[in-house]
């Protein structure tokens, strides 16, 4: 469809983009990403013939742009510009009509019935038909953008070029615009090439991404391979985290600021306050802990400063959530800051262990729920590693106890229902490599084993006495 061969181009003899080489298929969405000044806009100008390349060539359907007139190019390539100048009060209809310019011939160039039909269709698809006789001035930013999109569509292009189309748009308009583009690319086979500054948007909507760095083609391919953490960190000179989109096979990126304003207490472990009530136990902290929980409410990863251990009722899940929110209201804590463990019963804090030495960690076992607090920085991989180790330690402790007591019941701490929560303060020493965290995990697993073993023994004694 569109072929870019070894293209170098820029302004005033100074090359901005150099030796770009790629092709775009019909119906494909190509996202162009790169920091400011990396040559995204320049590349787009080269693609529609707004700039002539110093070297190399751009061709559309195997025809070089240089052999086409501006009008012939406009029949195939439409552009949604980044800056929209407009001095006089044009109506929406008059603006959209300009999109028919490349298809009109002759000195008079009147609109034919076909032109009017195409205009109306373009305005209907972008939902601006209702504004047809209003002036552009009277519309909001998002509506104006749609009018210019209608103009581009009226050109009946094979290729649509967009320069940072989501600039100055609300999230809802961004999604609306990009969904429309996606739909056109699928249904009309329209090729879409967009310079995007939002990497997450680019990751979701692009079939392929082209990463520019200082005018050079740094990477080209699927979002999952182009949005590679270390590559982006060098290009953008910023610290990034890469995660997967919750519902799509696309990566998403997170920024980390250089300065964090939060202050930490000298020991995060000692800062944990435990409060025992008749039907619940609450642990509170002055800092937020990044937690991985296996429980229904607040499962997965989250940031919590309050940990609630509550008795599980014989009720529907919804009802239990309701009760939980009521309790939180009563305690004046926020639901998003609270991690909840629903347990078969609430006993006294059965066992706890606080490590004195570096790195500090604490283990709380409350009626079948195991919580581990670590004063350190864990990667998500480390979390899962700890989770596995802890579950393994619990089950071994139960199993060993069973052998020791010759099959006496240890069902109070049933492995299959054991709830596990791993919390880390995310400050201080970093546990990133397997080597660094396996030592700590072994230590924790041992502690968990002993605590569980002892607790089961106590419960067993209790059961014996009954």
């Amino acid at each position: 469809m569109l072929e870019v061969e070894n293209v170098t181009g820029g302004y005033g003899g100074f090359p901005i983009v150099q030796q770009l080489q790629f092709h775009v298929d019909a119906g494909e969405i190509l996202g162009i990403i790169g920091p400011n000044g990396s040559g995204k806009s320049t590349l787009l100008k080269l693609l529609y013939g707004g700039l002539k390349p110093y070297d190399g060539k751009v061709s559309i359907q195997a025809v070089p742009l240089t052999s086409l007139s501006q009008k012939e190019i406009a029949k195939q390539i439409a552009v949604l510009p980044q800056h929209m100048e407009n001095t006089f009060y044009y109506t929406v209809q008059e603006v959209v009509e300009l999109g028919r310019y490349p298809h009109q011939k002759g000195w008079f160039g009147r609109d034919s019935a076909g032109d009017r039909e195409k205009m109306e269709e373009a305005m209907r698809e972008t939902d601006v038909l209702k504004f047809a006789s209003q002036t552009l001035e009277s519309l909001s930013g998002g509506e104006k953008q749609r009018v210019f999109l209608a103009r581009a569509l009226a050109q009946e292009p094979r290729v649509l070029l967009l320069d940072e189309p989501t600039n100055h748009l609300d999230i809802s308009f961004q999604v609306q615009l990009l969904d429309t583009l996606k739909q056109w690319s699928r249904e009309k086979g329209m090729t879409v090439i967009a310079a995007l500054h939002d990497l997450n948007i680019a990751a979701i909507y692009s079939d392929r991404l082209l990463l520019l760095d200082n005018g050079r083609q740094k990477a080209l391919g699927k979002p999952s391979s182009v949005l590679e953490k270390s590559q982006l960190e060098t290009v953008y000179e910023a610290k990034l985290y890469r995660r997967e989109h919750p519902s799509l096979p696309r990566p998403q990126l997170f920024l980390e600021p250089r300065y964090i304003s939060e202050t930490y207490p000298p020991s995060c472990i000692e800062d944990l306050k435990i409060e025992q009530q008749a039907d619940y136990v609450m642990i509170t902290s002055s800092i937020y802990w990044k937690t991985l929980s296996t429980e229904i409410i607040g499962s997965g990863f989250g940031w919590h400063s309050c940990f609630l251990y509550k008795r599980m009722e014989e009720q529907a899940e919804e009802k239990q959530k309701q009760q939980f929110y009521e309790l939180l209201d009563e305690r004046k804590t926020k639901k998003h800051e609270t991690a909840v463990m629903l347990l078969p019963y609430i006993s006294e804090i059965a066992a706890s262990y606080r490590s004195e030495r570096e790195p500090g960690f604490a283990i709380f076992i409350i009626s079948g729920g195991v919580s581990i607090f670590i004063d350190g920085k864990l990667t998500e991989a480390a979390y899962t590693h700890f989770l596995v180790k802890v579950v393994e330690a619990v089950s071994r402790a139960c199993y060993d106890k069973q052998i020791q007591t010759k099959g006496a019941s240890a069902d109070k701490l049933d492995v299959s229902t054991a709830a596990v929560l791993i919390a880390a303060s995310q400050r201080g020493s970093l546990y990133q490599t397997q080597e660094s965290y396996s030592l700590l995990s072994t230590k924790i697993a041992q502690a968990v084993y002993h605590v569980v073993f002892d607790e089961v023994e106590e419960e067993w004694h209790e059961n014996q006495q009954l």
């Binding site: 009008k71 510009p81 100048e85 001095t87 006089f88 044009y90 300009l98 999109g99 310019y101 006789s133």
Partner: protein, 356 residues
């Protein structure tokens, strides 16, 4: 939304013929008024009869006095035609410059071509030269030539600065050239003695005592200039949204801008050469038409031509009747009459827009 304006716009759009017809009718009525009124009033029926017969070259009947025929055909008609041509040329050039330069403050004199024409004319007046063959036409011919030289110089200057014709550069080059030439105008005015009054009154502009020859001299430039502009009216619509955008819509911006500049400069230069620098028409008439009919150049250009023509005929009528038998400079009247009218229209439009 502005309903009355919208109605007018839809109405005009749906019947191009009607708007052209209305425009021609308006100009015709203004011209009849122009030949009828003056220090000696001639009834409209008589003057239109004279015009009608003159148009078809029919012999005048006995009942019409010879003096009336002479006043209408020899004194007033050339003046009215010249006023109409100059008004039409300035209004069309103004509309084109405003569109091309994307600047509502642009007028036919922005580019500096008029300064070239004016300087040529003033030099002729100052030196009192009269070239052989040209005779009394020395002034307008020299003026047109200097206007052209100025245009070529400005374009070469812009090209020399950068390859593309960027509007900002064109405006700046125009300002440089017109202020440079303007200094020579001021110098001549400062040095001049007895020709001062003549030079000042020429600069203020006038269409009187020029005869058919001036109109004839201007006509070819007027036609070529107008054809150039009308041939680019859709391109002007695209260029208003910026050169980059126009390019993406398929407009060959370099060539089209050059054609539009040339056309508008032809109109301006020839108008200045035959009538001096009449202000206000080229700035305000396009705005006035835009308020009524919208900014679409396909309608804006022809309607500006008609409105400009009619407007200047009427202001010339005012100029020679208000303190008759003396005449006021037409450039003074254009602003005196035009500014309040424009102010009222602007007030109405903006207020309605806010309400809408």
């Amino acid at each position: 939304m502005n309903w009355p304006n919208w109605c007018i716009r839809m109405y005009l759009r749906s019947s191009i013929v009607l708007s052209y017809g209305g425009g021609i009718l308006f100009v015709g009525l203004c011209m009849i008024a122009g030949v009828s009124l003056g220090s000696i009033s001639i009834p409209v029926s008589v003057s239109s009869d004279i015009l009608w017969r003159a148009l078809w070259n029919v012999k005048m009947p006995e009942r019409i006095p010879e003096s009336d025929i002479a006043i209408v055909l020899n004194i007033r008609l050339p003046r009215v035609i010249l006023a109409a041509l100059v008004g039409a040329a300035l209004a069309a050039a103004g509309a084109a410059f405003q569109g091309l330069l994307k600047n509502p403050l642009a007028d036919p004199y922005t580019l500096g071509v008029s300064s070239g024409s004016a300087l040529g004319a003033v030099v002729v007046l100052y030196a009192g030269v009269s070239l052989p063959v040209l005779g009394s036409f020395t002034l307008p011919v020299i003026s047109i030539i200097t206007g052209f030289l100025t245009l070529f110089f400005i374009l070469a200057f812009v090209r020399w600065i950068e390859k593309t014709l960027r509007t900002e550069t064109i405006i700046l080059a125009g300002i440089i050239v017109s202020s440079f030439l303007g200094s020579f105008l001021s110098l001549i005015i400062a040095l001049t003695g007895e020709e001062l009054r003549q030079i000042i009154s020429w600069l203020l502009g006038s269409v009187s005592m020029r005869g058919f020859e001036y109109a004839g001299l201007m006509l070819p430039f007027f036609i070529i200039g107008l054809i150039l502009l009308m041939g680019n009216r859709r391109e002007l619509n695209a260029l208003v949204f910026g050169e980059e955008t126009a390019k993406t819509l398929g407009v060959n911006t370099g060539k089209r801008s050059l054609l539009i500049l040339t056309g508008a400069s032809l109109l301006t230069g020839s108008a200045v050469a035959v009538s001096g620098t009449i202000g206000f028409v080229g700035l305000v008439v396009p705005h006035l038409v835009r308020l009524l009919a919208g900014p679409d150049h396909r309608l804006l250009l022809p309607l500006s031509v008609f409105t400009g023509a009619g407007f200047l005929v009427l202001t010339d009528l005012g100029a020679r009747t208000i303190i008759a038998p003396s005449e006021l400079p037409i450039g003074v009247i254009t602003a005196m009459l035009g500014a309040p009218v424009f102010g009222i229209l602007l007030y109405h439009q903006r207020r309605l827009q806010r309400k809408g």
